[in-house]
Structure formats: C-alpha cells, structure tokens
C-alpha cells in the first residue's frame, strides 16, 4: 500500500469510528452536537474540556455516556467548598498486614481514572482546584514526594456554573489555560426538550454500547498528530493569536480597549490540534482555515483576560474573538 493510500485508509477508519461513537452517544444525548464533538475533540487531542452551563443541561450525562461508549475507566468528583485536595488525589494511609506489620500505603483518589468528571469545579476552593494542575498538565500525581503517573488517556471533563452564580470560586488563569476547550452548553430548544422528555420519562431508558476500545482511542490520537498543516493555515492561527494581544500592532481596536492579557501560545496549540481533529472528522488530510475558524472560540475564549473596562462594559471574550476574526485575513498567510 502506498503512503497516500495508507493515510487515506487511516483517515477513513478514523471517520468511521468517530461516526459510530457520535451515533451511539446520540442515543442518550439530545442535540448539543457541537458539545459532543468538542468533548470528543479533547479526547482525541489529549486535552481537557471545561463545560459551562446552568445545572440540569445534561453535562454529567454526556460525560458519563461518552465514557461508557469507549470502555474507559470513569470517575466523577462532585466539587464542593469543603472538598480537600487529598479527596481527589488520594492519600497515604497506615495499613497493617496479617502479621501485624504496619506500612504506609497510598490510596488513589478519584483522579486515577481515564475520564474524570469534575462536576461543578468552580464550587471548590482554589486550593482544591489547583490540585488538578499537575494532573492535567503532567498526566501524573505527586503525593508525599512520590509521583504516580496517570494511565492514558487521562481526560478531565470539568463542568462549571456560570461564575456570576453565588457560591462559586472563579478558576485561576493558570488552571483555565490547562483546558483545551471551553464549551458553552446551551439550553435545548423546544424540539430537543420534547426528545429529552420522551427518552427520560418513559419505562425504557436508552442504553449505549462500547464502540471504541481504549487502545483504538490512543491510536486515533496518533492519527490526529499526523494531520498536515500548510504554512498559510498556521500563519492564520498565529495572526489570530496575535490579534488577541493588546500590545501587538495588528490587534484590532476592541482588543486594545478591552483585553488585559491575550491568549497564551498554549492557546495556538489548542486551536491547531482542534482544527486537525475537525479536518479528520471531515475526512481531510490537512487542517484548513475554516477548521481553525471553527475552533478559535472554544480554544481561546477562556484564555483571554478582559480588563476592568471590558468587564464593566459587559464585553465577552467571544465578542473580542469575533472582532479578531473579522480583521485577520485568511489569505494573508
């Protein structure tokens, strides 16, 4: 098989598996196709997702369903204000064997799973939120000077209520930057509501099958990294990223006026990885500017820090990104 044919086969298989997965998930999750794709993108790109929405929109259900379809070890942590770091990382306890010998033993916390649902993450204190930092970035946990690697794929899917709600602690910028995508879970429309009611209030609850093994998922992650990116497309990403920085000459006026800090280079990585996944889902071998454009908001919206004026004016980071996209030409690269 020639190289192009081999690539075509891999891309084709990737598309088939992705379609099977989304079809299976759609049995349980009504609508929110972009959310499903976003979470799947994070899984394939090796990143973490932050889902934001009011309670009751099916965020937890989505994550749980996804874990079930992929035969992954799933754990769920409900973040509360009194949750301590040891509660999620694990702790060292004294254990005694049959001979009465006592030893220190590390009891793994819920973080040791393939897919961790950090539910309502912004209800926990910053201290506990920060406990996730090392795990999300280094894929490992260090307790009592002992480092414990996390088995891949390790994906944190965090949900949070809108920060304006009472009893929430905004996530620190450093932690926000660890999330590949931030997805807004929207309220379902009337048709979707009917479907939700039909499926959840009847006698038979929908069930899902495992359609992807853990190994296949890791293999698919490898395919994502091989997707080609032309220099003009990459230049487009760079231009967008620079457009979010108020200090750059090419930044549009809203950026200069309302943004305090622009997106980090990690944001550009996130955009490009997500664009690659989108290209594969579209059956293509190279990411395009259109893919980039689709991924910019989820990948950058949580990485842009507005200044006081922006906050006071009620400007959202999505609006800032819209302005940047409107001013950066695809053809420039």
């Amino acid at each position: 098989m020639t190289a192009p044919a081999h690539a075509e086969a891999r891309v084709s298989a990737f598309g088939t598996d992705a379609k099977r997965l989304t079809t299976e998930i759609a049995k349980v999750i009504v609508g929110n196709r972009e959310i499903v794709e976003g979470v799947f993108t994070c899984l394939l790109a090796g990143g973490h997702a932050l889902l934001e929405g009011v309670p009751g929109l099916g965020k937890t259900m989505l994550v749980r369903t996804m874990a079930r379809t992929m035969d992954l070890h799933f754990s769920r942590v409900q973040f509360t204000p009194d949750l301590m770091p040891a509660d999620i990382l694990g702790t060292t306890v004294v254990s005694e064997d049959a001979h009465g010998k006592k030893t220190f033993e590390f009891r793994r916390g819920p973080l040791f799973a393939h897919m961790v649902l950090a539910d309502e993450i912004n209800r926990a204190t910053p201290k506990t939120q920060s406990a996730l930092l090392e795990a999300m970035q280094e894929q490992s946990v260090t307790v009592a000077k002992e480092t414990y690697p996390l088995e891949p794929p390790f994906v944190v899917l965090a949900t949070q209520n809108p920060i304006e709600m009472e009893g929430t602690y905004p996530l620190p910028e450093a932690q926000l930057d660890r999330f590949l995508l931030k997805l807004h879970v929207r309220f379902p429309d009337s048709q979707e509501l009917h479907a939700i009611l039909d499926r959840t209030t009847g006698a038979a609850e929908p069930d899902v099958e495992k359609v992807l093994s853990r190994e296949r998922l890791l293999e698919m992650r490898g395919v994502v990294r091989e997707v080609a990116v032309a220099r003009p497309v990459q230049e487009y990403v760079v231009q967008i990223l620079q457009g979010t920085h108020p200090d750059t000459a090419s930044a549009p006026e809203p950026t200069k006026k309302f943004v305090r800090f622009g997106a980090s280079p990690r944001g550009a990585q996130a955009v490009l990885l997500a664009a690659k996944v989108r290209a594969l889902l579209g059956g293509r071998f190279a990411a395009s500017s259109a893919d980039v454009r689709e991924c910019v908001k989820p990948a950058l919206r949580h990485r842009i820090i507005l200044n006081f004026e922006g906050e006071a004016e009620g400007v959202t980071t999505d609006q800032v990104i819209d302005d940047v996209l409107a001013r950066v030409s695809e053809a420039k690269g």
Partner: protein, 625 residues
C-alpha cells in the same frame, strides 16, 4: 504538485492580473481624461498652445499603468486561496501549493495532494475570478464625453482674431513687448513727418512685426525670419554713424579753413553743422555767381583747399575697424577651441565672454559695412568738392553751380545723418528682440513663468513701484548713504557747496544735481518703504578708484523763460550732451562705465527692450571731441 491544481491556480493568477489591469486602466483613464479635460479647457482659453503633448500623456498613462498592473506577479498561494474561498474547498488548493514546495512530504501531505488533484476539476477559475466591467468605466465614459463635448465649445478669447491655428504663438510678456511697440510707434510717427526711405520702411516693417507679435499671429520661427530679413535688408543700406561722419567732416573742415573763401564753411563742417555749412556753400555759390571774389589768388587757395578736402578719406577708420575685427575673430576662435576640451567651473563665464565677443564681432562687421557706406557718401561730397575746385578756374557761373551742387550734397548728408542714426538704433533694438525670442526657445514652461514673474517685478520697479523690503545693511545716514538694497532715505547730507543746473523752460525745467552738492544720501536701513530720492554715492569696485569730489562750486538757479520757440527738455539735454564732457579723464571713466554696463547686461536679467534705453543713455553721455 498536482498538475490539475497547478493549472487552475495559474489560470486564476492570469485572470487576477487581467482584471487588475482593466481596473487600473479604467481608474487611470478617469484621471487621464480629467487631465485632458483641463488641457482642452486651457487650450480653449488660450493658456496653452497645442494639445498634442498633453493628449499623448493622457493616452499613455492609462496604458502604462495597465501594463504595469498586468506585469505585477500574483502569489500562487493567493491565487489558490481565491479558489478555496470561492468553492469552499477547505484550503485544498492553498495547502497543495504549500505542500508542493515542501522537501519532505509526509504521507498525509501526499494524500492531500492526491485529494486536491481529484478535486481540481470541480473548481472553475472563471467563476472564481470573473472578468467584470470595471467600476470606473462609467466615470471614464462621462469624462470622455466631457472632453469630446468641450472640443466643440467655442470660448471667447483675447487677441485670437485671425490667428492661424496651425501656428504656435509666442508668449511674450506684455510689458516687455510694449516697450518695443512704444519705441517703434514713435519712430514711425517721426519717419512720417520726414519721409526718408530706409528708416520709414524699416520702422514700418518693425511695427508690423511687433503688432503681429502682440496679436499672437506669428510663431517664433516666422518672427525670427522677419527680424533677420529686416537686419539683412537695412544693414546693407545703412549710412555711416554720426560719429564717423563727423570725423570725416572735421577733417574736410580743417582743409577748408585754410582758404578765406571756404573758411566759414570749414568751421561749420568742423562743428559740425551741416545746415549752416550748406548755407555757407550756397552763399559762396551766390558770391561766385555775382563775381564777387576779390582776387584770383583767393580763388586759387579755395580751389586748393577744396582739392585737399576732397582727398580726405576715412581710410584710417576703415583700417582701425578691420584690425579690431581681425583681433576679435582671433579671440573668438581661441575661446571656441578652449571651450571644447575644458569643462570646468569657469564654463559659464567663458560662455558669456564668447557671446559678448560674438556680438562685438557682429557690431564691428556692421561698422565695417557702415564705413563702406560712409566712403560712398563722402565720395559723393568729395566729387562735388572736386568739381567745385575744377570750376574755380573756369567761369564763375560753372563754379557757382558746382558749389550749389556741393551744398545740396551737404544738405543730403545732413538729412540722412539723423535718419541713419535712428535706423541704427532701431536695428539694435530689433537685434535685442531677436535675442529675447531665441532665449525663450530654450525655456520650459516653468522658466517662462519664472521669467514672466521677474519681468513683472522689473517693470513694476521701473514704473516706480515699491519693491519687497529685503533686509539691508545699516546705511551711512547723511552725506554718503550707500546706494544699495535699502529704501530708507537718508537725511539731508552736509556735503560741500555744489551747483544745481536747471535745464529747460520755467518751472518745468529739469534740475540736474552736480557733484559736490549736499543731497540726501540713499540709505540702507530696513523697515521703511520710502524710496531714496537723492543720487547714490556708492562706488562699484570694478570701475577703479572713485572720482575725487573736491571742487568748490556754488548753486546757480537758471530761470527758464517760457517761449514757444525754445528747445524742448530732451533737446536741451541733447544739446548739453553734444557740448560734451570732453576730457581725457571723462573718456576713461566713460569707457569703464560702458564696459561695466555691457557686462551687467550679459549677467543680469535685463529685458532686451530696456537695454535699448540703457544704450541710448550711454550714447547721450558719450565723450564728444
């Protein structure tokens, strides 16, 4: 690279260049037509002559712009992007162009190129870059209609009647031309009072030429041709200058004074006063006719005197002129040789010197020609004298007739003298006019405008207008305020007692301040625009040491008496000038001044029409013998 995509991208690039060329052409066409519209308008208003060059520029600019726009390359990635955006192919073409230039392609890149090649047939460059009618076509058509429409509109214009449209009229400054016209009109009027053949013809020809120039009915070539014709025609017919004629007459007068019978006539010739000399000749003729001469001896002496006077010729003058001409010719050749190899900083000075030598050579040639005329005219007088001398030994009737013929020759000489002087000046003025027209030929529009501005300023000053005040040096207020840039009049000077001559009639008499008098000096201080009224006492270092003013004089007021028979102011001045300022010192000073004036006329931008006035002035104050 996938050949299909490559071809499609190339087609897109070609269409982009074509569309860019069309749009550039249309945009520049609007500007060019606006330019043409202005040119046609200016031509209609008579501000410019000839539209050819303007229209060529208007036509060439859009074409050149379109060619440049078409020649500018289009980046392949840009052309590919146009295809991708039009057909939403997810950057297949753009990425393919990029991957084609990648040295190490991954299998995904190869797969992408194959995918792009497969999709190449689905894209259509014509649809991606349609060749549309440029937006600027409508304004361009409107402008073109305006240009065409304007060409059919007739505009009223000054001085256009009868002008040949094929000619390119000369732009001559009105004031400058008016100086010539005024002079020639005056000359025509005087020539009509005393019809004198060549002068009248020359004046009328010059007048016609100047009127045609003023009416813009002739071009430069025609004007120069007519000037040349005027010079050729009348230079040949020119008679000797008054100076040379007087010199010859004095020599004759010297001889005639040796006889009692011809003594009076000789004195009058020496003055020279040809009218009175003629009267004396007529008196002698009458005496001969009346058989009144006392003795045979007296008649013999008169015959000898007439014979000797008849032998006097201006040969020395001719030889002098020939020698000068030869020297000038040698100097001119030397300058021409020197000019060829050398290209240094003195080039301008040498060029000016060469031109001056050329003009002097021409003047000498004219003088030589005049000398021939002088010889011819004096020959006639000599023949008459010779006849008179011969007839002295015959009958008194024959002697009287011969003497009357000589008187008539003298009369003719007297009449011609003034006319020839006028003709000489007229030809000199026409020569200046020719020089001005030749200078204009090498000037661009900007230079002409600049010159027009300078001339306007010059004539304003000449008419007593106030110049722009320039910072000047602090003047020496009082006796010796230096003449220069400033305008502030110095206070009354405390000079030595001098003399004021009042010339002319009654209160209209001209006050002539003489050296040594206490007149206000002309100050230099800036700020005031009041003109100085006194004479300047500064000294040009080129003229050697200043003249010492040590004379003690007293003021004398000469009251003129109103009298219809009295001389006019100009006649009085002429008369004073004719009396001469004869001294060796004055001749030396005059020569220096004349030289400096000629140099300044070469170096400074003095209008040719004014140069005649300067030369007239210098002629008036020339040293008389």
């Amino acid at each position: 690279m996938a050949t299909g995509i490559d071809r499609q991208v190339a087609r897109v690039a070609a269409r982009v260049r074509a569309r860019r060329a069309l749009e550039t052409f249309a945009r520049l066409a609007v500007l060019a037509l606006a330019f043409a519209l202005v040119a046609v308008l200016l031509q209609k208003l008579g501000r410019i002559s000839g539209l050819g060059g303007w229209l060529v520029v208007a036509g060439v600019v859009p074409v050149v712009g379109a060619v440049i726009a078409a020649a500018r390359p289009v980046a392949r990635t840009l052309a590919a992007k146009i295809l991708d955006l039009k057909f939403e192919t997810h950057d297949r073409a753009t990425s393919a162009v990029d991957f084609e230039g990648t040295a190490e392609r991954t299998e995904f890149m190869e797969a992408h190129l194959r995918d792009a090649e497969a999709r190449a047939k689905e894209v259509d460059p014509a649809a991606a870059v349609p060749i549309r009618t440029p937006r600027d076509v409508v304004p361009a058509l409107v402008m073109a209609s305006l240009v065409v429409g304007l060409t059919f509109v007739a505009f009223p214009r000054e001085r256009t009647a009868g002008r040949d449209s094929r000619l390119t009229p000369i732009e001559v400054h009105t004031e400058e031309l008016e100086a010539y016209r005024e002079y020639v009109r005056d000359l025509v009027a005087r020539a009509e009072e005393q019809p004198s053949g060549p002068l009248q013809e020359a004046a009328e020809a010059a007048n016609r030429l100047l009127e045609d120039l003023a009416a813009r009915q002739i071009d430069r070539q025609e004007a120069l041709r007519r000037l040349g014709e005027l010079q050729d025609r009348f230079l040949r017919g020119r008679e000797p200058s008054a100076e040379d004629l007087q010199k010859a007459l004095r020599a004759m007068g010297d001889e005639l004074r040796r006889s009692n019978l011809t003594k009076e006539m000789g004195q009058k010739l020496q003055e020279p006063n040809l009218d009175e000399a003629r009267a004396e000749a007529q008196k002698l003729a009458q005496a001969l006719r009346d058989k009144r001469p006392e003795s045979r001896e007296a008649l013999e002496k008169a015959r000898e005197a007439l014979e000797r006077a008849a032998r006097e010729t201006p040969e020395d003058t001719r030889e002098r002129i020939e020698e000068l001409r030869r020297q000038m010719e040698e100097e001119r050749e030397s300058l021409l040789k020197k000019k060829q190899p050398e290209k240094n900083g003195n080039e301008d000075a040498e060029e000016r010197l060469l031109k001056r030598r050329q003009r002097e050579l021409e003047r000498l040639e004219r003088e030589q020609q005049m000398n021939e005329n002088l010889r011819r005219q004096l020959e006639r007088l000599r023949r008459q004298m010779d006849d008179a001398a011969e007839t002295m030994n015959r009958s008194p009737e024959e002697s009287a007739e011969a003497m009357e013929a000589m008187a008539e020759a003298l009369n003719q000489l007297a009449n011609d003298g003034e006319a020839q002087e006028q003709l000489a000046r007229l030809l000199e003025r026409m020569s200046d006019l020719g020089e001005m027209l030749r200078r204009q030929r090498g000037q661009g529009q900007g230079q002409k405008q600049k010159r027009a501005g300078q001339l306007g300023k010059f004539f304003k000053l000449a008419k007593g207008g106030m110049p722009v005040v320039a910072p000047g040096r602090q003047g020496h207020l009082g006796e010796n305020g230096e003449q220069g840039d400033g305008q502030q009049r110095g206070p009354e000077g405390a000079g030595e007692q001098g003399q004021v001559l009042q010339l002319g009639e009654g209160n209209d008499g001209l006050m002539m301040p003489m050296p040594g008098m206490g007149m206000p000096g002309q100050g230099q201080s800036q700020g005031s625009e009041q003109m100085g009224q006194g004479i300047g006492t500064a000294h040009d270092p080129r003229m050697g040491d200043p003249t010492a003013m040590r004379s003690q004089r007293e003021t004398v007021q000469v009251q003129g008496t109103p009298n219809e028979d009295g001389a006019s102011r100009s006649q009085v001045i002429m008369g004073a000038a004719d009396q001469g300022f004869a001294s060796g010192g004055y001749r030396r000073v005059y020569t220096e001044y004349r030289r400096v004036m000629e140099e300044d006329m070469d170096l400074q931008d003095i209008p040719p029409g004014v140069r005649g006035h300067l030369r007239d002035y210098m002629d008036l104050i020339r040293p008389q013998e």
